[in-house]
């Protein structure tokens, strides 16, 4: 019975990339995100969470018979 390490050939990632193409994907996506973040005064989702916390802070669960 063959051993597991006989079953595959190691894939040379760097060699594969060497035959590939250049991309600016990460830089451009990051730039897009940073640009959007600069344009908003505050994180809307954080504001929403804070708002909800205030509305729900007194709700209790887990009491008798829960």
């Amino acid at each position: 019975m063959s051993q597991p390490y006989d079953l595959i050939e190691l894939f040379d990632v760097e060699a594969a990339l060497g035959g590939g193409w250049d991309t600016r994907m990460e830089e451009e996506v990051r730039a897009e995100v940073l640009s959007e973040l600069r344009d908003v005064a505050a994180d809307a989702s954080l504001l929403r969470e804070q708002e909800d916390w205030n509305a729900l802070k007194d709700r209790m669960v887990g009491a008798e018979g829960g």
């Binding site: 050939e9 995100v33 909800d52 802070k57 009491a63």
Partner: protein, 542 residues
């Protein structure tokens, strides 16, 4: 009591008589008195009430509801010392005037019939595959089910659609060793333990059994962690999700609190609630469930723990695409979830929490649980590890940006065309995985060669990975139902949204790493979905 000594049960009374007769030693070190009950005979289950010390009608009814279809034999240990109950006894019950036993009993269930004590103890290997699990039976009023663990897949759940968290628990019966894989359950006594404690105990016990970094906590530890600013800790201390967050922090987690925004005005009936009011929050909660975190799920007056889901093959009726990728609608994989799997201390574990109106919802038509449904969730607390810094909403947003990058979308279209799935809606699944478990699974897939040799499965194996990853898998629905994907975006979960760190990305036979992209002719167009977080097993081992 109050003038006459009255033990709480017949068993306790017998022990009391032993003490009076000066037989403490023989009673303490006596025969374990293992009892076997054949559940297949008429009124077999009712015999548990007589044969199993401390068993109550509620306990019997609850066990019956979950086990009746699978269990054929019960094995009772009448004299069992449970560290969880002993802890509560020492810190709470011993302070009462009412005499109460410090011991428990324990009942095990097997799917085989005709077992006797010799078979169970002398040949555990032969009966391991029939072992369903156990419950400690506590000497308390009504809610008697103490620490319990059952294997959901041996109780008739379909492993192709039912996925939930499980930890392995070793069990000994007179020296015979069994193991059970399941999620720990305990009922609330309504005195020292309320539902929040029961849920927190399950979360902490699951984590401490599954991961060595967490210490084991006992019930009174959780009570002591409960803040006193809202009143005394026992009995009947109502708790909110801010309490859970504080307790889980003290336990060693870094909890995230998710609140369902837009909570309706006071007095709004629960039946009027709909999950669709806050789709993004539900998608976040579901991402954490899919990531293998037990999620404390708050309803208006109760809490249960979401530990998994039942997946279907069709998109649910109220679900809408959450994004477009390559100009095609993409549905969150939450749209395929029929029910969530919850542990609610009021019922047998692995209850199915459906949408309102779902006849399979465990609370459907129940007068005592009218509000429990997916729609009625208003908050969730997730016991995260420290280094999962990126929020699911940010991970989702970043992953979609990468998938929609102009260089990428033609390749997605090409793969869909090659696979003949152009008209399929796309499904996106987002989850957290540890770098290590991600590598383990990818290596397994590479070795198994399910779809033939696929060198791209090795890309993450041979990289330095962060401790935690956010992974988004993309698949046309027909392929998703066979548990395969055509694309994946792997993000560094320890990074921030601003850092925007993509570890690597794959679409069919192409991949991107750093500032390079490449096509690999020997790669497969699709690859297996990552499965590990929710205790998936090979069907052959079930």
């Amino acid at each position: 009591m109050y003038g006459r000594v009255k033990a709480t049960t017949e068993w306790a009374a017998r022990r009391q008589r032993g003490r009076e007769d000066g037989q403490v030693t023989s009673a303490t070190y006596g025969n374990t008195d293992i009892r076997v009950v054949d559940l297949t005979v008429p009124k077999g289950w009712d015999r548990l009430l007589d044969r199993c010390p401390y068993m109550t009608r509620w306990g019997l009814k609850t066990l019956c509801s979950g086990l009746q279809a699978a269990a054929r034999t019960a094995v009772i240990e009448p004299h069992y010392i449970c560290r969880d109950f002993r802890n509560l006894f020492s810190h709470f019950y011993s302070k009462k005037f009412l005499p109460r036993d410090a011991h428990c009993s324990r009942v095990h269930f097997f799917s085989a019939s005709g077992l006797d004590e010799l078979q169970v103890t002398a040949n555990s290997d032969a009966w391991q595959s029939d072992y369903l699990g156990f419950s400690v039976i506590q000497p308390v009023v009504d809610r008697c089910l103490g620490r319990s663990v059952y294997d959901p897949l041996r109780l008739g759940r379909d492993p192709r659609e039912f996925f939930c968290l499980q930890a392995t628990t070793p069990v000994h019966i007179n020296g015979a060793q069994y193991v059970v894989r399941g999620y720990p359950y305990i009922s609330q006594t309504g005195e020292a333990l309320v539902c929040a404690h029961a849920a927190l105990w399950g979360v902490c016990r699951f984590l401490s059994q599954r991961f060595r970094m967490y210490r084991e906590v006992l019930p009174n530890d959780l009570i002591q962690m409960t803040a006193t600013n809202a009143g005394r800790q026992v009995p009947y201390r109502g708790m909110s999700y801010s309490d859970y967050s504080e307790i889980l922090s003290e336990f060693g987690c870094y909890p995230a609190v998710l609140r369902a925004g837009g909570w309706p005005p006071e007095g709004t009936p629960d039946d009027a609630l709909s999950w669709t009011r806050v789709r993004a929050t539900y998608h976040d909660i579901y991402s954490y469930v899919e990531s293998g975190f037990p999620v404390l799920t708050s309803f208006r007056d109760h809490v249960a723990t979401t530990i998994g889901h039942v997946i279907g093959s069709a998109i649910g009726k109220d679900h809408k695409p959450e994004e477009l990728v390559a100009a095609r609608p993409v549905y969150n994989s939450f749209s395929l979830i029929r029910q969530l799997v919850v542990v609610d201390d009021n019922v047998f574990p692995y209850a199915l929490l459906g949408y309102k109106g779902d006849p399979d919802n465990y609370a459907h038509g129940s007068s005592s649980n009218p509000r429990r449904s997916i729609d009625a969730i208003y908050a969730a607390v997730v016991p995260l590890p420290e280094k999962v810094f990126l929020r699911p909403s940010d991970a989702r947003d970043l992953a979609y940006r990468f998938l929609n990058y102009p260089e990428v979308t033609p390749f997605i279209e090409e793969v869909l065309k090659d696979l003949g799935c152009e008209s399929d809606p796309l499904i996106a699944r987002l989850f957290v995985a540890s770098g290590n478990s991600f590598k383990v699974r990818k290596l397994r897939y590479a070795l198994d060669k399910v779809l033939g040799p696929d060198p791209l499965l090795q890309v993450p194996i041979r990289r330095n990975l962060p401790h935690f990853l956010w992974v988004m898998e993309l698949s046309p629905i027909s392929l998703y139902n066979h548990r395969h994907a055509i694309a994946e975006v792997v993000l560094d979960a320890t990074a921030s949204r601003r850092e925007c760190e993509r570890v690597y990305m794959r679409v069919g036979k192409r991949f991107w790493l750093g500032k390079k992209g490449a096509a690999v002719s020997g790669a497969s167009s699709n690859f297996p979905l990552y499965t590990h977080n929710l205790g998936e097993r090979d069907v052959s081992t079930v």
